[in-house]
């Protein structure tokens, strides 16, 4: 297992009203696959430490690693990362971690990505890896958010959109003006209408809050996807 590495925050961007992305430059970062995560450690002046795991939005060789964090107001790490941390600040990371929820260009199946909220983080890494690799397998993203302002990486997702990367949004609380579908949670019907069909035997990656992932994964299996082709990552309590 690798040791803790010192990282310096080099960029912070507001992504949503409660979330932001951080770019951390980590000397010695060995690079990571799309979908992997890392452990992040903060140390207070008196030596008290807190560690959390975060998915990585960036992909490939270091030294820059990008995370995106949604604030949990009762937490002790995410409010610091969203409200307090500034370029130049130091923290520590360890990783990359996990070899299951990953996509590499050797995977030639069509890929359906389904994200809820900040669950987009490991999936944007896959979309970036797909674009960077020149892979010609079709990707499609279904992204569920409360409202348009809650989209992480909205501009980049729009820029990545192409014939090989189709994007659909589900708005659960408020939709943009003139949006065809009224706001509402993902349903099996919406999933069926806006994802790669079972007949194309896609690989599916689902990431989001527990309830979201449970709903989506169950719908996918009911639609006929093989459970083995659906990889999930859940966060938060149930």
């Amino acid at each position: 297992m690798t040791d803790w590495l010192v990282g310096t925050v080099t960029d912070v961007r507001t992504e949503t009203p409660t979330g932001r992305s951080l770019t951390i430059t980590v000397d010695g970062w060995p690079g990571n696959l799309a979908g992997q995560h890392l452990d992040l450690r903060l140390t207070a002046p008196d030596g008290y430490q807190a560690v959390r795991s975060y998915s990585i939005a960036s992909v490939g060789d270091g030294p820059a690693v990008q995370l995106a964090v949604d604030k949990i107001t009762t937490g002790e790490v995410s409010p610091y990362l969203v409200d307090d941390v500034l370029p130049g600040d130091q923290l520590e990371v360890r990783g990359p971690l996990g070899r299951w929820f990953v996509w590499t260009p050797e995977d030639t199946r069509p890929i359906q990505l389904i994200a809820g909220g900040s669950g987009i983080v490991p999936l944007i890494a896959m979309a970036r890896a797909h674009a960077a690799s020149g892979s010609i397998v079709p990707f499609r993203l279904l992204y569920s958010v409360r409202s348009p302002q809650d989209r992480f990486f909205a501009d980049e997702i729009a820029a990545l959109e192409s014939d090989l990367f189709r994007v659909d949004y589900v708005y659960t609380r408020s939709a943009p003006e003139g949006w065809a579908t009224p706001p509402g949670r993902v349903t099996p019907e919406r999933i069926s209408a806006a994802t790669i069909p079972v007949s194309e035997t896609p690989g599916v990656f689902v990431c989001g809050p527990t309830g979201f992932v449970e709903t989506v994964a169950r719908a996918l299996v009911d639609l006929g996807h093989e459970p083995q082709s659906v990889k999930t990552e859940r966060f938060g309590g149930s």
């Binding site: 297992m1 803790w4 010192v6 452990d39 450690r41 903060l42 140390t43 207070a44 002046p45 030596g47 008290y48 430490q49 807190a50 560690v51 959390r52 795991s53 937490g75 002790e76 409010p79 610091y80 307090d84 941390v85 500034l86 600040d89 130091q90 923290l91 520590e92 971690l97 996990g98 070899r99 299951w100 929820f101 527990t210 992932v213 449970e214 994964a217 169950r218 996918l220 299996v221 459970p227 083995q228 659906v230 990889k231 999930t232 859940r234 966060f235 938060g236 309590g237 149930s238």
Partner: protein, 197 residues
Amino acid sequence: MAVFSRGFGGRVRESTPDLPPGQFLTEDFPVLSAGPTPEIDTAEWEFTIRTETGASHSWDWDAFRALPSELVATDIHCVTRWSKLGTSWRGVSLDTLFEEVESSYDYVMAHSYGGYTTNLPLEDLLDGKAWIAYEFDGEDLDPEHGGPARLLIPHLYFWKSAKWVNGLVMMKDDEPGFWEQNGYHTYGDPWQEQRYW
């Protein structure tokens, strides 16, 4: 020596002697699963222990539920760094399930509906250290938490407590299970922080 993170005070200070190193407390019950939650009908549920002789010991749901059960109050620790203290479970001790099982092997592969596996030393399953649990907080175990029944091995990181368990196969050598092939430690003691390879 760790670097200090400017302005980080650790507002919550989640520290108790019951918390293993690098863990934080949660009141929630997070879910970690590699894929969809399998739907398992207890009418078709079966749990089997297989040994090197080919002998198998099986229980259907009624036979399993007819075994003596224990109420287990314990702390649980997930490798993704949350811990939940004072959880309450009901299940059947592995000591009970192994009463008639004879094996000279020292390791076990646990198998689950959905294909998940995890490896364990047999001694970690016996002497009151492990259960097949079917109730949490007095209610039937929810499918997303491993219902109808899961392993409960609270002294190891919680990925060892396989959800939807349906069998144990005795092994001569310690071979890696699912997460153990995907970057996680073969044994997983939270007090030693045995998280990753």
